[in-house]
C-alpha cells in the first residue's frame, strides 16, 4: 500500500518535468525549424560543397526529430531500455544505409569506369 503510494508520487513528480509553456516552447522550435527548412531550400548553398542544401535540411530534420522524441515522446524521462531502443533503431538504420550504399557506390560501369 505504502509502496504503491510512493510509486504514484514518483510518477506524478516525473511528469511534472513537462509543463504547458515547455510544450509550447518545443512547438515554437519545431515551427521555426520548418520555416528555416523551407527558406534554406530556396537558397543555393552549392558553392560551399555539392549537396550542402541536403545536409542542412537533414540536420534541421534531425534536430526537430530529437526535440519531438525527447520532449513530446518523453524519451528524456524514459527508462534506459527505451532510450536504448530508440538509439538502436537508428543504428540499425545506419547499418542498412551503409551496407547498401557501399555496394551501389562501388559498382563500376566497366573495367575503367566512365
Amino acid at each position: 500500500m505504502a509502496e504503491h503510494g510512493t510509486h504514484d508520487m514518483h510518477e506524478q513528480h516525473e511528469h511534472e518535468h513537462m509543463t504547458i509553456p515547455k510544450y509550447l516552447l518545443i512547438f515554437g522550435i519545431l515551427f521555426i525549424g520548418t520555416i528555416v527548412t523551407y527558406l534554406v531550400a530556396l537558397t543555393d548553398l552549392e558553392w560551399i560543397f555539392p549537396g550542402a542544401n541536403t545536409l542542412v535540411a537533414l540536420a534541421i530534420a534531425f534536430f526537430k526529430m530529437t526535440c519531438v522524441m525527447l520532449f513530446f515522446m518523453h524519451v528524456y524521462w524514459s527508462p534506459k531500455l527505451v532510450k536504448l531502443s530508440a538509439i538502436a533503431s537508428f543504428f540499425w538504420l545506419a547499418i542498412m544505409f551503409a551496407y547498401t550504399m557501399q555496394d551501389y557506390l562501388t559498382r563500376g560501369t566497366g573495367v575503367f569506369g566512365q
Partner: protein, 313 residues
Amino acid sequence: MATHVGEHNDHGHAHAPGLQHQFEDMKQQEESVSIGMWMFLVQEIMFFGGLFTAYLVFRSKYPMAFAVGSNHLDAFWGGLNTLVLIVSSLTMALTVYYAQKGNRNMQVILILLTMFFGAVFLGVKAIEYTDKWNHGTVPITGLNKVVREGHGDSHASKPIEFSIGPKAYAAEAAGGEEHAYVNPRGEFQWNDYDLIEKKVAEQKADPNAYILTTDEKNGYFSYGELDRDKFRDKVRIFYWIYFVMTGLHALHMVVGLGLMTWLGWMAFRNTYSAEYYMPVEMSGLYWHFVDIVWIFLFPLLYLLGRHFIAGGH
C-alpha cells in the same frame, strides 16, 4: 490486502483500475507497455527505413531527375502539411498532459483537435494527389486523367504531340495563357527538361566538372545527346518513391485517426486519470512517430531541388 495472499496477490488491483493482474504495480506495467510500444515503433522505423534506402539508392544514382521531379511537387502544400502535423503533435502532447491531470474535457477537446488536424493533413494530401492525377504524373499507366481531343477542359483541343512536348509545365507556370497540357493516354507525362538541359550543357562545356553522376551520364543519354524518354523514366522513379512513401505515411495517418476515435471515446467515458493514462501516452507515441516520418519526407521529397531554380532560372 493481507487476506488476498495467493494467486491474485496484485496489491494494486483494488486501487488502480487499469492494472493488469500479471504486473506487480502500475510502474512495472507502464514500463512494460512503453517498451512494447517502442519495439513496435522500432520496426516501423525499419519499415520506413526500407523506403528511405530505396530513395537513397536512386537519388544517389539520378540526383538531377530527383531534383526536377521534386520541383513539380507543391512545396507550399507540403510545408503547410508539415506545420499542420506539428500543431497536431502539440495537441496530442497536451492530450497526454491533461490525461495525466485527469481532465476529461480538455482531453476530449484536444483529441478532437488532433483528429481535425489529421483530417486537414489528409485533405491537403488529397488535393495534391488530385493535382498529380490531373497533370498525368502518377507513375502508373492508366491511372491518370484521360483527356480526349474535343472533350473535357480547355487542354483538350491541343494536338497530341504537345503531350510529349517540352513546354507544358513551363507554359502553365508562365501564367497559363498557353494551356498546353494534354494527356491523351493517361500515361506518365513529363514535359519539363529545362533544368536537365542546362546541366547537360554545363557538363558538355566542362567535361571534367562533377555535374552529372556516372549513372546519369549513362542513364540519360542516347548517342551522346540527352534522351528525353530515358530522362522521363528516371523522373518516374522519383514519382514512384513519392507516391509509395507519402501513401504509406497517409495510411499511417488513417490508422492514427482510427486510434484517435477510440481514444476520444474512452477519454469521453472518463477512463484516464493520473493513475491510468498509458493508452493516451502510447497513442501519442504513435502519432509523434508519424509526425517524425513527415519531418523527413518534407525536405527529402519536396525541397531537394529548389535551390537549382531559386536563383531565377
